[in-house]
């Protein structure tokens, strides 16, 4: 890999290529990764439509190529760059800002940090697998299918990397068109309804977000004189309380719909069930993450005052989502629907971790995103393979599959357990970190405390909490807690989601894979083909790798998380002061937990640097 990037650096020295290189003189990895699929699309246009195998192979090669290019981001990404705390945000490999539409203040600006890095990698990693998985499943309009998938990738990667609010929005919306087409053309029976619902839900939210974006844009412009959608520029906004409440609502609505958070999730099961396998995989694994990514990237840091007010409610919705999704998954008759509801549940963990604003919570939230992408993507692939053989997704139509397809059963089991959160597999790390972060949170307070703990012993005089309806729970001397209890209660309820998660997944697995073979069709099911084996292996390997060696992933994002929390700490402290100063508002308490980074644990440089260093030492 190192040699590979050396070749690229040598190429970048060419004057011709140097022109397209970014301002730092390096290779524009980000643009290359984002727009590389276009090359594949271009080639696909010129291939006759009846050459199915050629079309598939070209698309696969294009996706693999993009993955190789994205490795360039991974190896040159330097986690240590963000360690300098106190600064707002550090982005690397930035490209731009180039003027795009100067009249409206829109620029082309991309950059990567610890948050976006892994989402890009997740997308580029899953895309070739997804395309490979369609070889057997899609036989009609293969050309269009491949073009749509590659186009989708451009939007997904672009949205994560964009640092201009408007550019982000463009990519965010572009994603809808290919996904709409994928669900609508290659989907199941109710595909048209599902596609429409998906599109309209997302569009409603995002258009309101657009208005909010424009509002901030002009607000900042009027204040500072610089009219620009640039991320750094938007963050200079000084918004009043009421403004923040409305703007946060607009942003959050768009992201909640995408996540989807509990009451906005209704489009998801339908879309998942009706979408073709590849569509479901990308939808669950990557597209939903745009919502959570948007929350931490834009909605949280932009509106600290509003966040302070909304935080406990968001956490509440997340917890409700966790349990609700899990309970619904428990009763599903349809395997795909079960996996879809499990997504609602898992993303609840993600949001709960993110909103806790603790290092563990954020890391956990990010890790859930990745782990859920891998595991749920894998589950959908497995369901797809079952469906191709049995032409049914009903649990009752299966039973005893393990006897017929032993290898498949093993792989499916690993993926299923990863999703259920078995220690040693990737799901566990994320959920555990999220729950731990949430339990430590000092941010989720409703203002009026449900419980208050005080030292044991005779109470002298009247405490404030005796005048309100708050229950006072006496504790041992030296232990006292107020709002943290709220967070703790959330965590307790959320933890039941893990139990339920194990229950619905393992029960489903039992009903599908074990027991007697009741149906003749099951008996006749083909064994796993080498291609399908190849599709599942990377997922299984990644699930195990992420489970046993999470440091590889965490130490790349930790510095960014630290920086993020430091920034949020300042903003939230100000917000708390403001809320205390304003008599018309309730006094709100909230605190961001910032912990020192452990220098030995953290990576000191990019993978490439480390490799060089090691070579020199030798």
């Amino acid at each position: 890999m190192v040699e590979f990037t050396h070749i690229f650096s040598a190429l970048a020295a060419q004057p011709m290529l140097a022109q397209i290189a970014g301002p730092e003189g390096g290779i524009p990895w980000l643009s290359l990764t984002t727009f590389a699929p276009f090359l594949g699309i271009l080639v696909l246009f010129f291939i006759p439509r009846d050459q199915l195998q050629v079309l598939r192979n070209v698309a696969l090669l294009s996706a693999l190529g993009t993955f190789c290019i994205s490795l360039g981001i991974l190896v040159t990404f330097n986690p240590a760059a963000a360690v300098a705390a106190g600064e707002a945000f550090t982005f690397q490999m930035t490209e731009g800002p180039h003027e795009w539409i100067p009249a409206v203040g829109i620029q082309f600006f991309m950059g990567v940090d610890g948050f976006s890095l892994w989402l890009v990698m997740l997308t580029t990693f899953l895309m070739p697998i997804t395309i490979w998985s369609t070889y057997g499943a899609v036989k009609e309009y293969v050309k269009e299918y491949m073009i749509a998938l590659l186009f989708l990738q451009v939007g997904l990667v672009g949205a994560v990397l964009a640092l201009d609010l408007f550019l982000f929005f463009i990519f965010w919306e572009i994603v809808l068109i290919p996904m709409y087409i994928i669900i609508g053309i290659w989907g199941g029976k109710e595909r048209v309804k599902a596609a429409l619902k998906f599109f309209l839900y997302t569009m409603t939210g995002s258009l309101l977000m657009l208005i909010a974006m424009v509002y901030i844009y002009f607000h900042v412009g009027a204040e500072t004189g610089t009219y620009s959608f640039l991320y750094s520029n938007i963050f200079t906004a000084e918004l009043g309380y009421t403004q923040q409440m409305w703007l946060f609502a607009a942003f959050a609505l768009a992201f909640f719909i995408k996540v989807p958070l509990f009451p906005f999730h209704t489009w998801l099961p339908l879309a998942h069930v009706q979408a073709p396998t590849a569509g479901s995989v990308i939808l669950a694994a990557v597209m939903l993450k745009l919502g959570t990514y948007g929350l931490i990237r834009f909605a949280f840091p932009l509106f600290p005052d509003a966040l302070l007010v909304y935080a406990p409610f968001i956490a509440l919705l997340a917890v409700v989502g966790i349990i609700y999704g899990a309970v619904l998954a428990l009763v599903q008759e349809d395997v795909k629907k079960l996996v879809a509801y499990s997504s609602v549940s898992h993303l609840g963990f993600c949001v709960l971790g993110l909103i806790s604003l603790t290092p563990q919570g954020l890391a956990g939230g990010m890790y859930v995103m990745l782990a859920h992408g891998i595991a749920t993507g894998g589950l959908f692939l497995c369901v797809g393979m079952l469906y191709e053989r049995r032409h049914s997704k009903q649990i009752a139509d299966f039973g005893g599959v393990a006897k017929v397809m032993p290898v498949f059963a093993t792989l499916f089991a690993v993926i299923m357990l990863a999703s259920a959160g078995l220690p040693g597999l990737n799901g566990f790390v994320g959920e555990f970190l999220s729950l731990m972060g949430a339990s430590k949170s000092h941010f989720l307070s409703f203002g009026e405390y449900l419980f208050y703990m005080t030292d044991e012993g005779p109470v002298t005089g009247y405490g404030v909490y005796e005048l309100t309806g708050t229950t006072v729970v006496p504790t041992e001397a030296g232990v006292s807690a107020g709002p943290e209890i709220t967070a703790f209660i959330f965590t307790i309820f959320a933890t039941t989601g893990v139990v339920l998660g194990a229950a619905y997944l393992i029960w489903m697995f039992k009903r599908v894979m074990f027991g007697e073979v009741k149906h003749e069709e099951v008996q006749n099911m083909e064994r796993l083909t080498p291609r399908e084996f190849g599709v599942l292996i990377p997922i299984v390997v990644m699930a195990i790798f992420m489970g046993v060696y999470p440091k590889f992933f965490l130490d790349k994002m930790d510095p960014s998380i630290h920086q993020y929390l430091t920034y949020m700490d300042v903003r939230v402290t100000e917000a708390v002061e403001r809320s205390a100063a304003d008599e018309e508002r309730r006094n709100l308490y909230g605190e961001v937990v910032v912990e020192e980074l452990h220098p030995e644990w953290e990576a000191q440089g990019s993978i490439l640097d480390m490799a060089r260093e090691r070579r020199q030492q030798r």
């Binding site: 609508g184 048209v192 596609a195 309209l200 258009l207 002009f218």
Partner: protein, 546 residues
């Protein structure tokens, strides 16, 4: 107000200066082409194909558009011909836009006419004449020129609407359009008469001048009662042409009955011209605060506000229930008039936001290409006079004819306002204007209007997606064959490419819109101050970039 000093009696007696004739060039080119066309048509051999006539007309219209481009830098400071015609970038912009719209529509036409057994040269001639009317209407500096140009534009279109005379619905369309159109023209003329009665002039700048005298002389509302009625009548005339609620009733029937490619032209060019004249007349002639009103002082801004919301809501909601694509597009046309009115209200509610009118211009560019492209694709399919009309007719056309399907998808997505198409930016630009002005003035009414616009455009996305649903996801019900017509292919392809291009790289188009708005002549002093400030700002920004 420079008119007063520059046009004294003596100057009226002298013939117009040679330089003033430049104002006629685009119109004159097209008139000559049209006259030439008559001669060419005389020598047509009976029974042979008339495709060349379409190309001839399209080239003529293209020449006109090119002349607008060429004359971009050579506007006149003062209205030519004793205050009859403005010749500025604003008028050049619209002349160019309607010419392009006409050219694209004409290119799509021959096969449709042939399949309806109405292949006649007159069709192209009527389109040419109509464009001539439009070119003079956007340049009018006097209500009389305006009205004459208005009629020159309208009457050929009534005939075009009824052109497929073997089709009952076309006749119905023509009749409806004519009766209602004539009625609205009469109302507008009555408004002009009232204004003349109150101010003693029909020249736009003189009207503004005299209105000031009126305000100075009288008590609070002085002589404004009469003027206000006149203003509203003129407004309703424009609203009729723009198909804004409640003057929209003709639109669905006319759109359904008229020859499909011509609808693309009628829907875009007429709307563009109506808005050009609306901006021109109201900004120049009726800037008085009492008339303008503004958020429930019930002047013309408030009227436009109500119309904007009504059009957006009604247009979008009724479009959902349509089964015919043409009717749906008609109702979208109504909704789009609402969106443009949003821009109009925001940009003209105070003189200091005048430059925001560029949103209207940009939105019109996006709308023109997308809509002409959509109607072009619709006219490409069908046989023996049976045009593709309902959603069901579109069944799986996108998969059978991938190129046309792609073009249609691009155009439809642009109309729905989905990035990265021009239509998205057009809508975005309009809403952005509303938010900007609302934020600066603190008028929540504007923000409310924008939110209504955004929510209704989600409804719009629903019925446009339905087009895609039928094109790609539903089986074909009726056997539809394409009319082999290279012109349609080219025209629609141009539309689609431009839609995407402007969506991705709109900087140039926005610049053109800005220049057009900045160069508008004859505006009152307050607006002129805004323009000057804008120019300084622009220069400063240019320096910054360098």
């Amino acid at each position: 107000m420079q008119l007063l000093s520059s046009y004294n009696m003596l100057s009226l007696l002298t013939p117009p200066q040679g330089a003033e004739f430049v104002a006629l060039i685009p119109g004159a080119i097209l008139t000559l082409i049209a006259l030439l066309f008559i001669i060419v048509d005389v020598f047509h051999r009976k029974g042979s194909s008339r495709d060349y006539q379409a190309y001839f007309a399209a080239i003529g219209l293209g020449l006109t558009a090119a002349s607008c481009w060429y004359l971009w830098g050579s506007g006149l400071e003062r209205p030519a011909f004793f205050g009859m015609l403005y010749f500025d970038r604003f008028s050049l912009f619209f002349s160019g836009l309607v010419s392009i719209s006409g050219a694209l529509a004409v290119l799509c036409s021959p096969a449709v006419l042939r399949s309806n057994q109405m292949e006649r040269g007159e069709y192209y001639l009527l389109v040419l004449f109509s464009v001539i009317g439009m070119i003079f209407m956007v340049a009018a500096a006097d209500l009389l020129t305006l009205f004459i140009a208005f009629e020159v534009m309208s009457i050929p279109l009534y005939v075009v609407a009824a052109f497929l005379r073997k089709d009952e619905r076309s006749a119905e369309a023509g009749m409806k359009y004519f009766v209602l159109g004539a009625f609205s023209a009469a109302i507008m003329l009555y408004g002009i008469a009232l204004i003349y009665g109150a101010t003693g002039t029909t020249n736009l700048e003189y009207i503004a001048q005299n209105l000031e005298f009126l305000a100075d002389g009288g008590t609070e509302h002085g002589g404004y009662g009469l003027v206000m009625v006149g203003v509203l009548l003129i407004f309703s005339g424009f609203a009729f042409k723009a198909a804004a609620v409640p003057f929209h009733l003709w639109a669905p029937d006319v759109y359904t009955g008229s020859p499909t490619p011509a609808v693309g032209f009628m829907a875009t060019a007429v709307k563009a011209v109506a808005f050009a004249a609306l901006v021109r007349v109201f900004v120049i002639a009726f800037p008085a605060e009492v008339l303008r009103g503004g958020f429930f002082g019930w002047g013309w801004i408030d009227v436009a506000y109500v119309l904007a919301i009504a059009s957006m809501v009604l247009g979008n909601l009724v479009a959902v229930t349509q089964t015919s694509v043409k009717r749906m597009l008609a109702y979208y046309g109504i909704a789009h008039a609402g969106y443009l009115l949003v821009g109009f209200v925001a940009a003209n509610s105070h003189p200091s936001f005048f430059l925001h009118n560029d949103a209207i211009l940009f939105s019109l560019i996006a709308y023109t290409f997308a809509l002409v492209g959509t109607f072009g694709v619709l006219s490409y399919f069908g046989r023996r006079g049976q045009a593709v009309e309902t959603y069901e007719d579109l069944g799986s056309l996108g998969l059978k004819y991938p190129k046309m399907g792609l073009i249609m998808s691009i155009c439809v997505l642009s109309l729905a306002g989905v990035p990265p198409t021009a239509g998205f930016l057009g809508k975005f630009y309009i809403f952005r204007t509303g938010v900007d002005v609302g934020l600066q003035t603190g008028e929540m009414a504007l923000i409310v209007m924008v939110i209504v616009g955004v929510l209704t455009s989600v409804v719009g996305a629903y019925y446009y997606l339905k087009v895609l649903v039928y094109m790609y996801m539903k089986p074909a019900i009726r056997e539809i064959e394409p009319l082999h017509n290279p012109g349609t292919k080219w025209a629609t392809m141009i539309c689609a490419i431009l839609t995407i291009y402007i969506g991705l790289f709109p900087a140039k188009a926005i610049d053109i819109c800005r220049e057009a708005v900045m160069d508008m002549q004859g505006v009152p002093a307050a607006v002129q101050a805004t323009i000057d400030r804008g120019e300084i700002e622009l220069e400063r920004r240019m320096e910054q970039w360098e």
